[in-house]
């Protein structure tokens, strides 16, 4: 019974500036469902990418032993060959191919170089039966809901004769019915002898399905526990119970009038028809205040922020926004900026910076008209502005004519912040401002955030790192499955308390 199918020993993996995995150990028993829990950024997905060969041997240190043999995977094909199949959070299906084509993608059933369609579709139908997918094998994947697409992924994994199935957040995008079906299916697969490793934020699901749970925190293994007798609280305390090793600059909050109030904000998904991303969210920000927004991945934090920022994301948006007590309508990003609202994105490379341009042109890009007279930009003034930010923000670059694409993450983030500070907003929404930034630069970003509040601006800080929220914010809202589930003043906030609110009401998902 207690036969170990997978043993990962001393796995470490470093990205530029960040140590994602630090001496991680994991043991998975044959025929069990093994859950991995941890905060965003704890290293769960990285560990699974190491296991499945996405990061090939040599990219990490440590050993992987599968079915008693040491493995050195050079890529996904190698790991799949051994029977380890990963299903990523973002499904990797070709949406305009049929179910059967997707199941056998890269593994085509062919005879003398020609695809044997009868065998492909018949085999697909059999696999679909095993996962309980009642559809025609020739149906295009884009006609399926997310729940059924997930089943196609699992059928695809089975077609590769998977013996170890890894699922990264498999139910994150599913409704209750589909989730229940999926969990049942996993139990069935376990009984057929397929071992499962599941990563999930939904702790109730973890307790319902897992045999054992491994908890990761800050890239380290904390513990592996038997699911029998385990409670959500116990998992949470393992996930967050870190000592506050970051230090935060001191600050005396001077909080003024209310500057922004959002009422009954509701946002629907632009890609999945009718799916609710944010439901009836209401919150308010005051001058000089730093307010946190805590939520797990997929809770709708970014969607909430971007939809407020001139409807930059989402459809079917409803709700009211009040600025300085007066209702305002924000139909475009330009209007939001005009009304003194700024949003610094979580993905600075894709949404925040023009990476082929230099620092000065990025700094000026959100408020170019401030530097222009009758539509003509004053180059020298632009240089001076950018240079003043380079010095005050301590952007480490030879000059403001340096290309932003060549800066480190922390310095890129400072350019993004400079850009929005130059636009002189009253409200700054900062989405994961310290993601992927090393510790030293984090402290500098914290100092900048404090300075903004000191200057009377209201800051809404979205972060996955609870210590960061606890160390900086005056109040913290928690968001779970698109709903605001709590509002906690700094004095009363604890990591455990927040985590409980952040995972609350997940069952009630529409």
């Amino acid at each position: 019974m207690s036969d170990v199918i997978l043993r990962m020993r001393g796995i470490s993996k470093t990205f530029p500036g960040v140590r994602a995995l630090d001496d991680v150990n994991l043991e998975v028993l044959r025929g069990e469902i093994h859950a991995i829990c941890g905060e965003n950024g704890a290293g769960k997905s990285t560990l699974m990418k190491v296991l499945s060969g996405v990061y090939p041997h040599g990219d990490y240190t440590g050993e992987i032993e599968f079915e008693g043999q040491e493995c050195r995977f050079g890529g996904i094909r190698d790991s799949e060959h051994r029977g380890i199949v990963i299903i990523h959070q973002e499904l990797a299906l070709a949406s305009n191919l049929s179910i059967a084509e997707n199941i056998f993608l890269g593994n085509e059933q062919s005879k003398r170089g020609l695809i044997d369609w009868n065998r492909t579709n018949a085999d697909a139908a059999e696999l679909m039966g095993r996962v309980g997918l009642d559809e025609n094998p020739v149906t295009q994947v884009l006609d399926l809901g997310v729940g059924k697409q997930q089943l196609v992924e699992i059928a695809k994994a089975l077609s590769k004769r998977a013996r170890l199935l890894i699922l990264d957040e498999p139910t994150a995008a599913l409704n209750d019915e589909d989730s229940a079906h999926l969990l049942n299916l996993l139990r069935g697969l376990r009984d057929e002898g397929i071992t499962c490793v599941i990563i999930s934020h939904k702790l109730n699901e973890v307790l319902e399905i897992a045999d054992r749970v491994t908890i990761l925190r800050d890239g380290k293994t904390i513990t592996t526990l038997d699911a029998d007798g385990l409670t959500e609280d116990k998992i949470i305390s393992g996930m967050v119970g870190r000592d506050l090793d970051h230090r935060f600059p001191p600050r005396e909050p001077v909080i003024g009038e209310e500057v922004l109030r959002v009422e009954n904000w509701t946002v629907h998904s632009p890609t999945q028809h009718g799916r609710l991303l944010v439901a009836n969210a209401s919150f308010r920000l005051k001058r000089g205040e730093i307010v946190g927004l805590a939520g797990l991945m997929g809770a709708g934090r970014t969607e909430l922020a971007m939809s407020i920022f001139g409807r930059a994301y989402g459809t079917g948006i409803s709700g009211r926004i009040f600025k300085d007590g007066r209702e305002i309508k924000l139909r475009s990003v330009g209007e939001a900026i005009k009304h003194g609202i700024a949003y610094a994105t979580e993905d600075r490379k894709r949404y925040g910076l023009n990476l082929i341009e230099d620092i000065k042109r990025n700094v000026s890009s959100a408020a170019l008209r401030k530097l222009a007279r009758r539509g003509w930009v004053d180059d020298n003034e632009e240089y001076q502005v950018a240079e003043s930010y380079r010095q005050s923000m301590n952007i480490k670059a030879p000059s403001v004519a340096s290309i932003t694409g060549k800066l480190s993450g922390g310095n890129q983030q400072k350019v993004v912040l400079s850009k929005w500070i130059f636009a002189d907003p009253d409200v700054l929404i900062l989405d994961e401002p310290t993601r992927g930034i090393d510790v030293g630069a984090k402290y500098e970003i914290y100092t900048i955030i404090n300075k903004l509040a000191e200057d009377g601006k209201a800051v809404l800080l979205i972060s996955s790192e609870l210590p960061e929220l606890l160390g900086l914010c005056d109040r913290i809202y928690t968001l779970s499955a698109g709903r605001i589930t709590g509002e906690v003043p700094r004095a009363e906030a604890t990591q455990e308390g927040l985590m409980t609110l952040m995972t609350a009401g997940q069952e009630a998902r529409p």
Binding site: T14, P16, G17, V18, R19, D22, D218, D245, F309, G310, A312, S332, V333, G334, A336, I337, Y343, T345, R350, Y351, G352, L353, N354, L355, I356, E357, R361, S364, S365, A366, L368, R369, A372, G375, W376, V377, D379, N380, Y383, Q384, E387, K396, A397, P398, S399, A401, K406, S408, N411, K419, D438, V439, G440, A441
Partner: protein, 411 residues
Amino acid sequence: MSVAPTRVQADVLKKAPGGPRRFQLNLRQSGIYIAFAAIVLLFTILTGGDMLAPQNISNVIVQNSYILILAIGMILVIIAGHIDLSVGSIVAATGAVAAVLMVNHDVPWPLALLITLIVGGLIGAWQGYWVAYFGIPAFIVTLAGMLLFRAVTYNILGNRGIGPFPEEVRTLANGFTEGYLGNIGLGALGGADLFTLLIGVFAVGGIVVSQWRSRAGRLRFGQVVEPFPLFVAKIVTASVVVMFVIVQLARFRNLPWVLVLLAALVLGYSLLTNRAVFGRQIYAVGGNLQAATLSGVKTKAVVFWIFVNMGVLAALAGIIFAGRLNQANPTGGDQLELDAIAAAFIGGAAVQGGVGKVVGAITGGLIMGVINNGMSLIGAPSEQVMLVKGAVLLAAVAFDVWTKRRAGASR
């Protein structure tokens, strides 16, 4: 937790102190001028000096004027991250409109020109709508436009050409300034037009003064500028080239009017791309569309107006093209879009958008013009000209990709 971050920081810090005062020559941008000089030199040697003869310089300018005008519009489209395959057909269609107005309906030429430019703008607006607001890739929209507007041309003209154009239009396309101030002797070079020479002197003076003031302004704000000897060398080179061309033109038949027009366009559009808010927004849209959107740039409007602008410039090129031939032709302007696109890419535009300069596109256009002209002077058959032009385009873009990859690897 601690080892990697501190090392990364230390690297940055180490680089910083030596950096701020150092000036770096931009290989990608200056390379194009060096290549242009080399090609001119090569053909000057191959033709025994005929390349730089007064009449030939005049010919190169006049013969390529409409391609250069198209290249100005095209570089903006390409900087914004799009492409326009329809400009050849727009040239034909607008040329036909101008011909019908002036020849068949006796509309006074200034009004006819204005209407033609508006028609060009409307054609651009049509394509801009589909690209910017409807979201169809520009490649498809303008491929359709290429067929569509060629069909429109045939509809307007039937299967024949319409001409001749009024004297004024022919002069704009093909003519020269009068010798307003008479001739003066230039010793061994013979007589030359004083007016043309004076314009040249003013142009050189303008270059020197504006460059000097720009440098002084940058210095006042503590910016990095190129070393003084390099600055002087650049100004002297530019002045010598301008004066040489001017003297040769003054010796031949004075200033071509299209050169006056082109100079104004280059100046205006350079200013637009470098200094205007709208110009900056074009680079922002091409560099990172999402980031531009999230910075409050009205990205759809920017793309729309870029296409309107392309339409107007194509109409201008259409008038000059037709005026030069003295007749609007149903097959006129065929494949001009390829020349304009090639000019932009040879001139340093990036396929992904976000990069490019008006002066670069003009230089790219001149490189192709000089190759055309030089090879015909040495009597090379047209298939060889095509071969060389194709090779130059591929080499220019390969160089661009290579320098970018090298820059990426050294990170």
